[in-house]
Point group: C2
Chain length 436, copies 2
């Protein structure tokens, strides 16, 4: 073999040449940790503690109810929404930050179903993927029961073209799969679904802040997303919701709380939805959580002068390519297999690995051993009955805001050492210590 | 007149003799402020800033995703729910803290409608009060549309007995009215509705932490409530939800997110609701907000060794009686009229005043002038077309945890001075300065 191999020194040099390297200074990363789980919970921005403290002690503690006006609390869902809009190809005033991803999906899928029932009453199928994040499927199951629709789950992306049939009302997909990191081509899939006469709802939980998204350019119908992954909004942060302007005013969304009303402070007994995305607000905004989310979104917007999401994506691809190359080069003979798409365009900002027999079952223990070494990824169980098709997965997220190339090199070296030793077998006996 | 009148000295003496006076030390009240708006936004507990800071910097910042287990984040909705349960007469495991009041109402009213449709399919009416807080009516309007039910609004409590008819499926009431402070007799109304064959949902937004509530003793069916008023959970704090054990497992609630699933971490594609109140959880818990809410609930539980809600209620009644007495004695000739029930048993922990002609319209300006003096109440507009029946209201909440009798005396004196001078006329020209 004469191919030149990537050395740790190469990675250090790449970090030194990285125009985005300064963005890491925005975060309070614990020392000695290589955090490859930003796809589950983003790290703490340094600004957050100070900002939330000010909201608590000054805005709430001292100014009390005046802050609804003087601190612009009432505008927070729209203000944070406008910032998120810049990351997902939406216009100002088209996104609000509120509630959870599940709740926002309930709102947009209800609206999508009602629009489909009005415009194409013969269409009674909602299509999604069996591998979609379960909460999306649970919400769809509830709404299908309610509206007499059928939820059809496809088992692989290859089945998607055939599912775009005359029964299809709404196609509901998560752009980047939470397990495998598979990334749909939003523009192509949306166009195909529209050509088939259906609406498309995109869940951007693993996209917003991770990959460039252009909802307007893709002509999508509805979108939702998560605040606590790549947007660094904190545990259980508010989520966001977008509706295309052609749809937003057509129907109520059913969670018709008072702050989605056109004139909430007139306290009228009958509901009159606000124009635009404001009607997707339900109850009183969660101020502390929204303040933290805003700090998180700001860490991503800080990349705008450096090329924004395109630059972050370029680095993210370089990081994941580097990880795949090194993991295969250094750990393949120890049983490591790639479980994410090899093609960068089909991959989000994460890489999943599985372990070949006889290590099929060792994934959880290996992740625990890595965590003990300060390399934090996570584990997603496969299907015990058919581990060849749905293996246990070691999941590693690469947030380009705070992960560098030397981190990638070090993570692979830790993985190699864990697998080459008996360390993971010891970790296995400590399974209860930390279920991540 | 020879009746002895209450003096400020009497009030100071009452404060000195008050066994609950030490509870005020739990709060970071701004100096020089008499805060009579805890029914809108409770004040900041001293513990909150430190606790939220620890959650941010230690649990999130340092321990990251491990905290879902090590910091028991996943248990927060139930742990805070169990604490709230102690304030509303529910058993441990029967309450969870999550989402907003509006969203929780959507969950329980959906369940209530489905139970009614199963058990009494001929009943198609939801009854509430036109004066109920609008978000409750908007949510009911949405669900009535969805389920083919009719929302019937009564204009006064006197109409309630006649509304308990053979059409009634669910009676949906807020126990303490947000505008007038009128308090329903939960036990009597629940019994009457049950005798008429209907279910009852209680909104405890202005009850929890304000008046003794015994959901179990009253044999209520469902309840929800707010975290940011008398529970001092912070702006937009999570709300809570309770379902009677006889109902809780009968149906899904429709907001069937992954954390209401019986085994969320098995990531199965089909929804299987958890047993008990856990199924009323939807998405990922809002950790920062729940941590703040827990600190707020703890301030109310701190009264338990001193007699708990019964002792707080006793003081609350004494405070509101004192306020009414002093306001009528000292301000009646200036146009002040009582707009809350005079009977303490029919009143929550707030007192509303209105202004007689020719000061009908002056309420907003008077509240602004009071705020400028550090006496914070709020204003709720009446019906401009019939101010005699639905007057503008000056609303004053008396949270016995941090309000004392001298505060009451001083508040009335400020009100008297504002009305006796032209101060409120000046405030009126500054209306835009602060819309509370």
């Amino acid at each position: 073999m004469t191919t030149s191999k990537t050395t740790r020194q190469d990675c250090v040099a790449q970090d030194q040449a990285d125009p985005l390297r300064g963005l890491k200074d925005q975060f309070a990363l614990p020392p000695g940790v290589i955090y490859l789980d930003g796809n589950s919970l983003g790290v703490l921005p340094k600004a957050t503690a100070t900002r939330v403290q000010a909201v608590i002690t000054q805005e709430w503690g001292t100014d009390l109810i005046k802050s609804w006006n003087t601190a612009h609390w009432m505008e927070l869902p729209a203000r944070v929404g406008d910032k998120i809009a810049r990351l997902v190809g939406a216009a100002p005033g088209e996104v609000i930050a509120a509630d959870s991803t599940s709740l926002n999906l309930y709102k947009v899928l209800s609206a999508g179903i009602r629009i489909a029932q009005a415009d194409a009453p013969g269409r009674t199928t909602i299509v999604s993927e069996r591998s979609n994040f379960p909460t999306d499927l649970y919400i769809a199951e509830s709404l299908c029961q309610q509206h007499g629709m059928t939820l059809r789950l496809i088992d692989s992306v290859d089945e998607l073209p055939a599912a775009l049939d005359a029964d299809l009302a709404v196609l509901m997909l998560t752009q980047v799969n939470y397990r495998t990191g598979y990334q749909h081509d939003m523009t192509a899939v949306t166009a195909a679904a529209h050509a088939a006469g259906a609406l498309v709802i995109w869940d951007l939980a693993h996209s917003a802040g991770a990959v460039p998204v252009d909802l307007t350019g893709a002509n999508a119908d509805f979108a939702i997303g998560c605040g606590y992954k790549y947007l660094n909004g904190g545990p259980g942060a508010p989520a966001f919701v977008w509706a295309h302007p052609r749809h937003v005013n057509r129907f109520w969304q059913p969670l018709s709380g008072w702050l989605g009303h056109s004139a909430p402070f007139q306290f009228t007994p009958d509901y009159q939805p606000a124009a635009g995305i404001t009607r997707y607000i339900c109850g009183t905004p969660a101020i502390l959580a929204l303040a933290a989310l805003e700090c998180g979104v700001d860490t991503v917007l800080a990349a705008e002068p450096l090329g924004g999401m395109a630059a972050l994506r370029q680095k993210s691809v370089a990081l994941t390519e580097c990880f795949i190359e090194l993991a295969e080069e250094r750990c393949a003979e120890l049983g490591v297999r790639l479980a994410s798409p090899r093609e960068a365009a089909q991959r989000g900002s994460q890489v999943c690995l599985s372990l070949a027999a006889p290590l099929h079952e060792a994934g959880y223990a290996v992740i625990q051993a890595l965590i003990a070494r300060g390399v934090i990824g996570d584990f997603r169980a496969g299907d015990p009955a058919r581990l060849d098709e749905v293996p246990h997965i070691l999941r590693f997220g690469f947030t380009p805001l705070y992960i560098g190339f030397a981190d990638v090199w070090d993570a692979v070296e830790h993985l190699r050492q864990v697998l080459a030793s008996s360390e993971w077998k010891e970790a296995r006996f400590n399974q209860k210590a930390s279920v991540t």
